[in-house]
Symmetry: C2
Subunit: 345 residues, 2 copies
Amino acid sequence: MTDTAPRPTLEAVAARAGVSRATASRVVNGGDGVREPLVARVRRAVEELGYVPNQAARSLVTKRHDAVAVVIAEPETRVFADPFFALQLRGISKELTAHDNQLVLLLTEGRDDHARVGRYLAGGHVDGALVFSLHLDDPLPGLIHHAGVPTVFGGRPGWSDGRGGAVYVDSDNRGGAREAVRHLAALGRTRIAHITGPLDQTSAADRLDGFRDVMGDIDPGLVVESDFTPAGGERAMRRLLERHPDVDAVFAANDLTAAGALRVLRERGRRVPEDVAVIGFDDMVAVAEQTDPPLTTVRQDIEEMGRLMARLLLRRLGNKGVEAGRTGTPSSVVLPTTLVRRASA
Amino acid sequence: MTDTAPRPTLEAVAARAGVSRATASRVVNGGDGVREPLVARVRRAVEELGYVPNQAARSLVTKRHDAVAVVIAEPETRVFADPFFALQLRGISKELTAHDNQLVLLLTEGRDDHARVGRYLAGGHVDGALVFSLHLDDPLPGLIHHAGVPTVFGGRPGWSDGRGGAVYVDSDNRGGAREAVRHLAALGRTRIAHITGPLDQTSAADRLDGFRDVMGDIDPGLVVESDFTPAGGERAMRRLLERHPDVDAVFAANDLTAAGALRVLRERGRRVPEDVAVIGFDDMVAVAEQTDPPLTTVRQDIEEMGRLMARLLLRRLGNKGVEAGRTGTPSSVVLPTTLVRRASA
DNA sequence: CGGCCCGGTGAGAGCGCTCTCGAATCGTGA
DNA sequence: TCACGATTCGAGAGCGCTCTCACCGGGCCG
């Protein structure tokens, strides 16, 4: 219990099974090329001794770790207010454990942490990395690329340099936004506004693009930049009502923003959806189902994104068991979104 | 970039600095007992070569991994709908990285996973574990104890067996509940009800105990068991109104439940807080600030809980740098809660 | 019937690091 | 001045594992 009984080694297993260490090793790693009776004997010895391979010794020679890092770079507390990463983590975790890989979590905040993470990844402690880095000016992708660690990004990284080599998994922010706005238009709304997210994040920028795809060149006053927070949503909605008292629909860049907007609308006596229809983005149920009225929103399958990220990475690492892609490096994936109709639009 | 340049070894550093591998090792690990000029030379060599110690080789001999597992055992999706674990993880992460420890995340769902986790921990891949296991009947604590891995629990584990040896960090659920109920009483409420959480979780049970501490032996119909979800809160509130139409205050076991209750109250035309005062628990801002009216609730410092868990574990692992506890195994810690007054009570 | 090939097995060389131990160096007190 | 203790450094033995390579035996072809 408390005192650490010395763990049995491969040597011990071999001795007990009456074979060499080499043969024992072969059996432990699949048993190819070992005749049945011996396989059985080794297996039994493993069982009886409760042998578990020493991972450190193993990776010392194989140079593999069967571990991948998940880097979540978010200076802002905001992120933790939504279950986004939690769900993504769950998807990642499922896929990784299904292929016997460990998940090393790296949370960063602040610039100094970037260096630390870069050093860690460059240190070769993990076979690859899954990185969430949503800001345009983030130095992390560069550091990681420099470190030469196989990486898959969560969300399209907004690199300025020309290389399109980055593999990422993203949801169809632009398409989802289009669908939302089209829905508002189909409802007969004509003064449709958009409260954006921080435009240095590709997801926010893409949603704005989708909005513009449908609306064309509209009064720029109908687009208000915000920051993905409820408070920001409130501010933006207030400004919107000042500039355009006749607004009859709002597409908010995420659910939190929409919740803030809803509150201001109620406070100003506007009925939702009768006077103003509102659509959010994300489908964070804890928020979208709690608003008054419940929020119509664009859902993205967050857990699936995580699973996919892990799968792409493992494939790239040449992990057996993962169905092989056609050839070489797998390419990025963009997942579809769906409109979830509740009461607000 | 793609091809893995062979990482420099200690041997290389030693050669470049003109010292032995042993001395280079000493410098890398603090440099005690090495004279200044040599220290400087080795440091420079490390710098120039970009040397990073091979962790696998190191732990092969030290039998330490400088890594701890974080086990989150939650079959239910519910958990991921709140930022509870995210915040806790952040606290844990901060403390661990401050002491150069890695965080290996183990997410489980379903019984079979338990065995996997047990095997992993027993496999000696990590130095210790931080475990969130909130259910009374959870086999995990037993498995872990059996594996002999130093562990700190998040939340008081509800063990039936007699051993009080488990170290845990919890918030003062009972005290917080008392404060909430006293607040309601101070408001002049007399028909105070409680919507509980799942009573197989110690946090829910403790909150109920706190409620009883203040209310004494009341009409059992004023206590309704629920499940920490908004939908459950709605159901419970409905039942409550049927049985006790005269209820004038509700203490909900968490914010999500309170949100559900609020919705039912509004739907039934009860004004909050005029007719019925409502208090939640947790202070999940994303929820508590969004409800109508904003929710009065009991806050627990979740991030601090995480940080503390990590600190206790590191101390127990004899990690230098962590201020030493007085003697031996540190004991559990219960963190205070605070009442956050918003509009609902 | 002999040589050859081939699948199955074991011996042994490291992987990169820490740590013990003895050698070398330096100072100090008598 | 010389012995002796303290300090600093290097040589070398592993930690537990994988993997190459040589070895051995039996089946098959010539």
